[in-house]
């Protein structure tokens, strides 16, 4: 293949996926753009945004990859049932990782802000927001990933190419929307 052929093939293959994730990213951006009041009220919240968004991709992208490989290997059936120990374990581990790392990210952010002498909301406020957002977004993304991978596989699509775009598109929107919801909840309950 010549450089031109390789480039054309790569361009055509990636354009729809990237365009889709750009649309998802823009919607996430609109939610973030409307969060200016909360960002001002909770100093340090913006520091958490890239870490929490990346976590959603890393944790639930990996769940999608794991389920996809297991389907290809015939280890699991493309149907959700609470009787399947492997699916249960994969989902429980993804949720545990997602919630734990959100809490750890909040603690690390507070420590980092204190070290560089920048203002930060109380540690408990940041941790509460991160844990609530981590748990709710985890549930939503698990449902999205499991349904898309299973339904796609039953219809003859390759779950490996489905899971990535679904997670990157829904992950940003769900990640920011749950962060906004969690922040409002914690502020309403008197944190911050």
């Amino acid at each position: 293949m010549t450089v031109r052929e390789v480039a054309l093939e790569a361009y055509r293959e990636a354009l729809p996926v990237l365009a889709l994730s750009a649309v998802g990213g823009l919607f996430a951006g609109v939610v973030l753009g409307g969060m200016d009041a909360e960002l001002q009220e909770v100093p340090g919240l913006l520091v958490l945004v890239p870490a929490l968004l990346a976590t959603r991709g890393n944790v639930y992208g990996s769940l999608g990859a794991r389920l996809g490989s297991a389907l290809h290997q015939g280890l699991i059936d493309p149907r959700f049932s609470f009787a399947d120990d492997r699916i249960n374990a994969a989902v429980a581990a993804a949720l545990a990782n997602g919630v734990l790392i959100s809490g750890v990210a909040a603690v690390m952010a507070a420590v980092l802000l204190a070290l560089v002498g920048r203002p930060s909301a109380p540690l408990a406020t940041l941790v509460a927001i991160a844990l609530i957002a981590g748990f709710v977004s985890g549930l939503l993304l698990t449902i999205a990933v499991v349904s898309v991978v299973f339904v796609g596989y039953r219809r003859g699509l390759n779950p490996d190419t489905l899971a990535g775009p679904v997670v990157t598109t829904t992950g940003d929107v769900v990640g920011i929307a749950t962060l906004l919801g969690a922040t409002r909840l914690v502020l309403a309950l008197g944190g911050g």
Binding site: T2, V3, R4, E5, V6, A7, L8, E9, A10, Y11, A14, L15, L18, A19, S21, A22, V23, G25, L26, A28, G29, V30, L32, G33, G34, D36, L39, Q40, G44, L46, V47, L48, V49, P50, A51, L53, A54, T55, G57, N58, V59, S62, D85, A89, A90, A92, A93, A94, A96, N97, L100, I101, A105, A109, L112, L113, R118, G164, T168, D172
Partner: protein, 188 residues
């Protein structure tokens, strides 16, 4: 398959992934800190705030798609690291072309959405320029990071699938914020 049970146990999966997640989170917090330093500008011009997730996401996606293609070519024995390698060059060209196509549209989209919802303080031209310049620069950086990381994995005999994609995605996320910060500094 001695470790078969641990591959599908909750504690096994958490033990494998959690240390990696902590490292990646530490990297991402670095970009969060950069965002924090220009929070004032972002809050003043919400159309720039709208650009934040999409720039981070697109940078990571450009890098991870390139990394996935390099890894597959590498596994198939089709990739050499010579500068004359067609696959290396062709994929790099595609990455730049994708960024140049999509980032101006992303900038226009961000401006349009923010104008409809809350009104914008910045002209369309500025937001498109910030997105276009950030995107072009990020495409070049994504190529450099992906090529270097894939080459390092190859030298250290690591499976590029395990190592390159998480490293490239998260490093490109951080670069996305840094480059956006630079573009905002210059053009706004």
């Amino acid at each position: 398959m001695a470790d078969f049970a641990s591959q599908w146990s909750v504690s096994g999966i958490v033990r494998t992934m959690f240390p990696i997640l902590v490292v990646l989170t530490a990297i991402e917090l670095g970009s969060g800190l950069v965002l924090d330093t220009f929070e004032g500008t972002l809050l003043q011009y919400p159309s720039l705030l709208v650009l934040v997730p999409v720039t981070i996401g697109m940078a990571g996606n450009l890098g991870s798609i390139l990394a996935a293609r390099y890894s597959t070519a590498f596994h198939l024995g089709l990739l050499s690291f010579a500068p004359s390698d067609d696959r290396l060059a062709g994929n790099a060209v595609a990455t730049v072309a994708l960024a140049v196509t999509l980032f101006p549209l992303v900038g226009a989209g961000a401006w349009l959405l923010q104008t409809v919802i809350g009104g914008t303080a910045l002209p369309l031209r500025t937001v498109v320029l910030v997105a276009f310049v950030s995107g072009s620069l990020l495409a070049v950086l994504a190529i450099v990071v992906t090529t270097v990381t894939t080459y390092a994995a190859y030298r250290f005999e690591l499976d590029p699938d395990d190592v390159v994609i998480p490293v490239v995605t998260n490093v490109c996320d951080v670069l996305g914020v840094v480059v956006l910060f630079g573009a905002v500094r210059v053009f706004v």
